[in-house]
Symmetry: C2
Subunit: 235 residues, 2 copies
């Protein structure tokens, strides 16, 4: 049995000071660690420095885990836990949700290493809270297809599922495609379906609005190239 635990350490969604969106309890554990697995060295160093490790960052032991890592690379991280606790830090928000860190969490369970999730900002849940849509049943589906015809067909299927199961459907999109997706939602969805756009969550640009598709259509609105979560609920 390894001595160390895997701490999952969230990071801010935007340029916020860590204290604004990361609880003191999370920051305290972050500051106590000396070994981290990170998605990108440069931005992780910047975050760890802002989060209270300024001046100590050069002496920390950082290991990369990203989309280029092989299963063998992940396996090779296991001996780190023989020495003590390890922190996992990924880009923007919760680690190990939709990023390569999940493979390390999974491997820790197989190896009997304790996995401890720490509190921080989740753009999906912040969007869901603020949307006013059904939070008793919801599904996150990640990205819709990039090609227009496939995307429109997927939107139709998803709207049908939403109506059948009274389930809020949640999506994200690469920021430069936000307005193309938004425009497809407005052309394809039924007028009575509720659509929420939650852009720039926790940042000064935050703009969250829920309205029916008919109401959205009556306005000239665009989202622009900032991170946005889209939610729909068919009625």
């Amino acid at each position: 049995m390894s001595k160390g635990r895997l701490y999952l350490i969230p990071s801010p969604l935007g340029d916020n000071a860590p204290e604004e969106v990361i609880p003191a309890g999370t920051l305290q554990i972050l500051r106590s660690l000396e070994v981290f697995v990170v998605e990108e060295l440069r931005s992780a160093r910047r975050y760890l420095s802002k989060a209270g490790l300024k001046g100590h960052v050069e002496s920390l032991e950082l290991h990369e885990l990203n989309e280029h890592s092989t299963p063998e690379d992940v396996q090779a991280l296991l001996p780190l836990f023989d020495k003590g606790d390890v922190g996992l830090v990924t880009e923007a928000g919760l680690p190990a949700v939709a990023d390569p860190g999940a493979s390390l969490a999974a491997l820790c369970h197989e190896a009997g290493i304790e996995v401890v999730p720490l509190v921080g900002p989740s753009s999906l849940m912040l969007a869901l809270m603020a949307s006013g849509l059904n939070g008793q049943s919801f599904a996150f589906r990640g990205y819709l297809p990039a090609k227009t015809e496939e995307r429109r067909a997927a939107i139709r299927r998803v709207e049908k599922d939403s109506a059948t199961f009274k389930q809020t459907q949640i999506f994200i999109e690469t920021p430069y495609r936000n307005d193309a997706l938004f425009s497809d939602f407005l052309s394809v969805l039924s007028p009575g379906t509720l659509l929420c756009t939650a852009a720039g969550i926790t940042t000064p640009d935050e703009r969250i609005r829920t309205a029916t598709v008919a109401q959205w259509r009556r306005q000239k609105t665009s989202i622009g190239k900032i991170p946005c979560v889209f939610l729909i609920l068919a009625r």
Copy 2:
């Protein structure tokens, strides 16, 4: 257009000091507010006091919104926003996700009142992070049916959906039924399906473990009567 905004204010999942799990940015806004909509007066007063309003709680304006509230009761809260900002506090975790507060958030969107979600602990996302299961596609389905035969049939359907859509399925249960649900999972699910139990998240009793159903069956395990999130991923 109303002057005030609706701030959605999370609360701790257990008996933690608020500072441990609620960011300073959230607490700062909480402390600046004088009008709150709360799920239960007594526990909300206790939380607001611990969160930095000690000595001021008696002078705050608190309004109740809970499962007994009618649509007219929710509507009657709207004039509060003419005077200024309002905080929404519900029991344990994120407000307006699976509680009556969602109806107030929805009404605010209709009335053109800005809804601002603040960061705090989400038992669902903390469980999902720590599970190591698929976070690129997941569905929260709330409670399964209470009657054994219906519940077992529902588990079979959900396992099938999980396999078809490669989608992590997330459930909660009333704590006194945890072990009955857990035992049904072990009897009904396929041996290769991954099952995560995430109990007592963020509390001293926290215990999160992911294993195959076959592995769980080989052990004598029980969860007990503490809040638990269940996650399954069929393979």
